[in-house]
Symmetry: C2
Subunit: 571 residues, 2 copies
């Protein structure tokens, strides 16, 4: 059954050769008695020609799109060449033809451009994946994964597996549970990450570990989230923050070079969490364009603007050449800002030498000079709490950048976000939560003890073009500090013992300093392939309601399966 | 924090150099005022010496086993060299010493030899994994996995991921279920294998796929089974049985060469299922030694032996030099044979020119000549049904081989088992089951239709030293044959539609001929590391009752987790 060439391979160099090809019929045309067949495989397309005198002519006439065939024939020069195709100079004059598989008319067109609904694409995913664009996405995912792996192997990292049937932990997102048949009423949990296992590899002395790890979160989904996702999970011993960051820089640099022939600027930029929140209003700053947030509280202190009175923060941003925004558009932006907890959106246009907008009547010449708007600019200002102002302006900034096409294409800006708060206080629960996770080392253990609200973490996120693609930290390797951490999180001794007891125990037998990171593979692939939807880079994704439309899962199961688990379903 | 050398690296070539090392304290000795410390990392051990005049002397005296330390010092020549250690010619005269982590006395000794109970080893797995022998197992697992991957990548295979949250299918072993929160009463299932997904990759036109795939079976466990296990899952299009087999031979040959420096004999041996059952009494023949099963029905036809009367099969084997077996041992072997459904174990010793045993009184000189026993041999014969005789003699053969140490060490016999029956009939259910799985192609579709009991499959298993390490087949790529297969298995249309409907559908849009195999990674690693227990090659294994003793999972979960899933536990 073997073939001599893939369908991207034949050129004038093979003229006159006898070849065997295989593949799917992309298109059949009957032109002036000649039957032309475009034969597709994962590599490309070759044109076949069947002449009327050919004994296979009648068979060829019956062939339809998506039939699977093998052919033998001779490579001949084409009369009208196709410069867009690597094989465009030749065609194959068919001498033998076998239909391996017939095909019904597919419910979606096998081509890059499709108007099929997402539901149809997911239901017939095996056909959707035939589309060349999807093949490229999947193959790039493969290439990216292998490039990352190669880089880590070259650094002496071991690729180890960890269990999928783990234990439910109370911190973090909601777990997927797996009922135990042998211990009715008890459950395994699918891992949200191999965090504890990878730290145990360090306790065990392996020093350098990675895994292409499947992780699970039973959360309500967004466009860039799936219930199961893949992370490049990395951990190392005897390292500090800069060691882990430098490793990731080498790994990503190798990956971009190998897969995209793109040189990332090294070392990556660094920004503290505080600076990111101050200048970009987000911990995932997109640094491909400016339009930074500015503090206008001092500037407006002298003006008696009711909206700004007694506010914790008054911040804003200037959109150059943004005065073209219509009143309607500004109303929509105001809605957006309010949706993200901004109290109001004040604005000021400077256009044709005149000011307009909700702030205009408060601005005299001195103020105008201080603001320094250029003709055609617009200034937006949001008052409110620090957090609300930052969040709403961060979203406004991104929205304006997209509206005004300010984001350069094919550039990759990577930035480390450092100096994270260790904890966040939740007013509702009246307790602290770990900003990253409860194993993150404090920058200064004394701060954790005496002023937890101000304690910083040895934690770092990595942000690519405004998307978080990974996060990590140096871990606590001292049992006493780990206990203090749990105590600060308000976990009582009984709970700690039940959930993490063995892990606190593990720290007492000689644990090396260690740390690591987890990189979100799906998101990295999404950004490197310039897709907008995470589903495009997952072979068999679930819908936003966590359904597999092809398999029709989840689904009901046989009653005896539930009986074996001693499980009942009900309200 | 960086170190200059690993602990296996220093030799006389580095004499006089200033070095920084890190690791775990393997042993501390206080000899004549000098403190000697064996410093261990994953690479090896280096001896440190701290002299009384050293400012760190007092600190060194306090160091205990498993402390984590870093040191600086000078490489000096040892007075008494240790030829068993790569670093045995030198020691490091310590000038700086930092304790990174103290250690309590570990509950098991960190050395290859351990008398710790398995329960203790599993509970403190992070310490068990510190033992050098376990480090070697884990690192060999890593090496073997990478070697297999490299071979497949070199063959142009894509490594793709498939979902873990799949759908429960009625055929096969018991599924692990995952309750859906968004669809109460519905369940995902963890995959027993990515079988359907990998076939869909072929439908989608990717042609060559593999995955290091985690799979799950909620079955009662044996020593070489775990609830979750890893298989090298492979599928290719436009291939037949010999293509898949040749690929696997190249992959395994590369792996044995890379990891063990061992050349496997190529091509691997081949044996039909019928021959394996006839000659070895098992479909997993250990061909490292002979002692084949023989058919004695013709030979004993003339003798009036009540035990053998009207039996479907009378088969046996000759153990050379086996006459030393005592009556008590033979009684134990009889128990073993009966446990494996053998009706009885008849035996005949030929020793010092005389016959003895339960068959002796039926044997005259003519018979004796025909049997051709050599002095010291023993013949065992089992009567009964074909299947029972084969099974019990197969087990007897393996047991005798181990008792008499007939199995050569460090040899690897690989054999393909071919020409499998497609189906097996289950008397109890009154229906056929697929011998491999319901997607296996029949060797001859007409046989499936007209004489399913006799139909053979395009299936193959691969057996290494008597252990099945993989199985695969060419798949059905024709929708009509797939429907016939389901019908033969007694699955009604409704059931087929509900469970496999989309898959039968998928076959109609141009499916290439395809096939593949799944290799059991855990078992391959077990055989290549010469361990007896699959737990030794899994980082964090479960007990035979599917418990994780370290994590204490499965475990109870919070009531609100069950409420979110609308699940109740009860009888």
């Amino acid at each position: 059954m073997s073939h001599t060439h893939h369908n991207n391979a034949l050129t004038l160099s093979e003229l006159g050769q006898q070849v065997r090809l295989k593949g799917w019929v992309q298109k059949v045309r009957n032109l002036g008695g000649l039957v032309f067949i475009d034969l597709r495989d994962r590599h490309g397309i070759t044109q076949l020609v069947v002449k009327p005198e050919n004994p296979h002519y009648e068979a060829a006439l019956k062939i339809k799109n998506e039939y699977v065939i093998t052919i033998e024939g001779t490579v001949i020069e084409r009369e009208s060449k196709n410069k867009n195709l690597p094989t465009g100079d030749i065609e194959v004059d068919v001498s033998g033809l076998t239909v391996l598989s017939t095909a019904a008319n597919p419910p979606l067109i096998i081509a890059d451009q499709t108007d099929a609904l997402e539901e149809v694409r997911l239901r017939y995913r095996y056909l959707d994946l035939r589309r060349p664009v999807m093949q490229r996405y999947m193959i790039m995912r493969h290439d990216i994964t292998q490039a990352i792996r190669t880089a880590l192997l070259n650094e002496g990292y071991y690729e180890f597996e960890t269990p999928m049937l783990g234990k439910s932990t109370p911190e973090g997102a909601r777990d997927y549970l797996v009922p135990s048949r042998l211990y009715p009423g008890q459950f395994y949990a699918l891992p949200q990450s191999p965090q504890i296992y990878k730290q145990l590899f360090m306790v065990a002395g392996f020093e350098k570990y990675f895994q292409v790890a499947r992780c699970f979160r039973d959360e309500d989904l967004r466009a860039d989230r799936q219930p199961e996702f893949t992370q490049i999970d990395i951990e190392a011993s005897f390292v500090d923050e800069t060691d882990v960051q430098a490793l990731v820089e080498r790994v990503l640099s190798h990956t971009f070079k190998t897969v995209l022939k793109h040189e990332l600027t090294m070392p990556f930029a660094r920004m503290t969490y505080a600076d990111a929140m101050r200048d970009y209003g987000t911990d995932k700053p997109d640094t491909r364009y400016d339009m930074l947030l500015k503090d206008y509280s001092a500037l407006f202190a002298g003006c008696d603007i009711p909206l700004f009175k007694d506010k914790q923060a008054i911040k804003g941003l200037v959109l150059e050449a943004g005065a073209t925004l219509t009143r309607k558009q500004i109303d929509q932006l105001t809605e957006l800002v309010k949706k993200h907890h901004g109290e109001a959106l004040a604005w000021l246009k400077y256009e044709g030498g005149a000011l307009s907008g909700s702030l205009a009547r408060f601005i005299d010449q001195t103020m105008q000079d201080k603001l320094g708007l250029k003709d055609g600019d617009i200034l937006f200002v949001v008052p409110g709490s620090e957090a609300d102002v930052a969040q709403s302006l961060g979203v406004l900034r991104e929205t304006l950048a997209r509206m005004f096409d300010l984001i350069p294409k094919d550039v990759y800006h990577v930035v480390w976000i450092t100096d994270w708060p260790l904890l966040e206080y939740n007013e509702e629960d009246g307790r602290y939560y770990a900003k990253h996770h409860p194993f993150t080392a404090p920058a200064d253990p004394d701060m954790l003890k005496h002023d937890p609200a101000q304690a910083l973490a040895k934690a770092y996120d990595i942000v690519l073009n405004g998307h978080e693609i990974g996060g990590g930290s140096i871990r606590i390797h001292d049992q006493a500090i780990q206990k203090l951490m749990f105590k600060t999180l308000g976990l009582d001794d009984h709970e700690v013992k039940r959930r993490f007891g063995f892990f606190v125990d593990a720290l007492k037998y000689g644990t090396p300093p260690h740390g690591g990171i987890a990189l979100g593979l799906d998101r990295i692939v999404m950004l490197m392939t310039h897709t907008e939807n995470i589903k495009d880079v997952v072979a068999f994704p679930k819908t936003q309601s966590a359904k597999d439309l092809m398999m029709q899962s989840p689904d009901s199961v046989d009653e005896d399966q539930l009986e074996a688990l001693k499980i009942k379903v009900g309200e």
